[in-house]
């Protein structure tokens, strides 16, 4: 009967694992065809961003990755698990998902309890939980707010709380739906730092974002979605340089890419250093010629 007190027996975090999306289509009960034949393979430890205009199907796609939505057609594998064969609660030990709207996610009355909710459901001990909460709150720099009611925080802070509450679950895969929305420069830097850290730990980080500069700075792979389909999928430097393709789904290339194109540089760079290097390289070439 000991199990009765432990809702799920997944106390130990699972190791790295791939995600496979096989020809997935999804239709909402209202009749909207939100996904039409999407296929992706995401390797363990990959950092991937999904971009595309409003209504492209980005949120619908990531909700398939933790089992919240089940494909109408095709299948989704998280590690060796078919999402249809395991409850969302079980899959939660493998995939952490930060919702687009923080107010959709908050369930507890204090920031500390909120962040501890996931670890508790995963069956961790009180001591483990306390450590998870402290570490996660430190990462988002909200350690002083553990006793505060989440609704007494600003929206940007609440978004960080929801981020922390998923970090605390220590899942091998993390999904962020629009993490930078409403954040100022400091918040942006904070979230960027967290993404880098997760990458460093070898965890899979997926993000949906409209912030193309954030995407360029931290994500090696970019998937462009439009109308429920994958329009392009590849290395960020290649995909984000395809201005015409991005324009069809209302995405603007990063500033550095546009600058490089305006200067007719031979290739686009996603970082300032890379840009300067390319610029100097082409200058050097021009000087010699």
């Amino acid at each position: 009967m000991k199990n009765a007190q432990r809702p799920t027996p997944n106390a130990t975090p699972a190791g790295p694992m791939p995600i496979t999306v096989e020809d997935v289509s999804f239709t909402y009960p209202s009749g909207t065809h939100a996904l039409r034949g999407v296929s992706l393979r995401i390797a363990p430890g990959e950092a991937m961003a999904i971009v595309g205009e409003n209504g492209a199907g980005k949120t619908t796609l990531v909700k398939h990755l933790n089992g919240l939505l089940k494909p109408s057609q095709g299948r989704v594998l998280v590690g060796d698990w078919d999402t249809r064969e395991h409850s969302v609660a079980k899959t939660a030990a493998r995939v952490g998902y930060v919702f687009q709207n923080p107010d959709d996610q908050i369930v507890e009355r204090t920031v500390g309890d909120e962040v501890g909710f996931g670890p508790k459901q995963l069956g961790r001990t009180e001591a483990e939980r306390a450590a998870d909460v402290a570490a996660a709150l430190a990462l988002v720099e909200l350690s002083d707010y553990a006793k505060t009611h989440p609704y007494d925080l600003t929206t940007a802070q609440r978004k960080l709380v929801t981020l922390a509450s998923v970090l605390a679950m220590r899942t091998p895969i993390l999904i962020f739906d629009e993490p930078t929305m409403g954040q100022d420069a400091r918040g942006l830097a904070l979230i960027g730092g967290i993404v880098e850290r997760l990458k460093g730990e070898g965890r899979t980080v997926l993000t949906i974002t409209h912030d193309i500069d954030f995407c360029a700075a931290h994500f090696g792979r970019v998937v462009v979605m439009a109308d429920g389909q994958v329009l392009a999928d590849g290395a960020a430097a290649d995909v984000l340089a395809r201005a015409e393709l991005l324009a069809t789904t209302n995405v603007e290339p990063p500033q550095l890419v546009r600058l490089a194109q305006a200067l007719r540089l031979p290739r686009a760079a996603l970082t300032v250093d890379g840009f300067v290097e390319t610029l100097q390289g082409s200058r050097g070439a021009g000087g010699q010629g």
Binding site: P7, T8, N10, S30, N66, L68, S87, V88, A89, A92, A93, G96, Y97, F99, D103, D104, Q105, I106, V107, R109, F117, G118, K120, Q121, L122, Y151, S165, V166, M169
Partner: protein, 265 residues
Amino acid sequence: MTVNYGLYVPKQSGIHSLHPLTKLAYLGFCLAVSWVIPGTWTPYLVFLLGIVPLSALGQVLPNILSGAFKAVLPFAISLFVVQGFFWPEGTVLQQIGPFSLKEEGLFFAIRGAGRILMAVSTFLLLSYTTRPDELTLALGQLGVPNSIAYVILSTLQIIPRFQTKATTILDAQRSRGLETEGSLRVRARALLPLVLPLLLSSIVDIEERAIALEVRAFGRQGPKTSLLVLHDTPWQRLLRWLLLLAALGVIVWRIYAALAPRFLS
């Protein structure tokens, strides 16, 4: 983008295009008959003859049947248990251990459930076939103050809003490891952490709505101009008066019938 019209089921039907007040008068009449005329089975008869055909015409019969069933069932069960077994005295139909099922209590429960069925199904028929903004406008034409009309309108919309909210919160909790699928016990346990966030977010919601209304000059005095025009016809106006009179007639007749024996004796 599609506008959320609460319970409204968009269909092309004669029932949908009726003036909201005509529907209101008809449903009021049905409700009066089912509640006032005695007889255990009266509400069910009115439901079969008055609500079902109109629901079918309005292409919302499946919605009405499933909605009414879900809403009435818990009431019906508790009425049956409480009234059937705890009726103080009467003809015992069945003895189950220390409890006895009594005929009078049983009939009382059947009639009670019928009345609830009528209340629920008239409400649903109106909501399914009438756009809330049209209903508000119609009530305004009746002279109902805007604030009251708004309360009615938001009541019509609150059920689907609550459903969406509840799903969202459940999704958030499942995503973080709370088991909500499976046995009844698991589901019941999942219900508790659902209630507080639901209430809290609804309160935040109400405040936001109030602000939105205020900045749109909702509290302004005097008549307002509507961009919406309701379609009305002379025969509908006549029908409404007839239904209103008939409903009043039934009620007056019932009061008379109840009081008359006392005056006559």
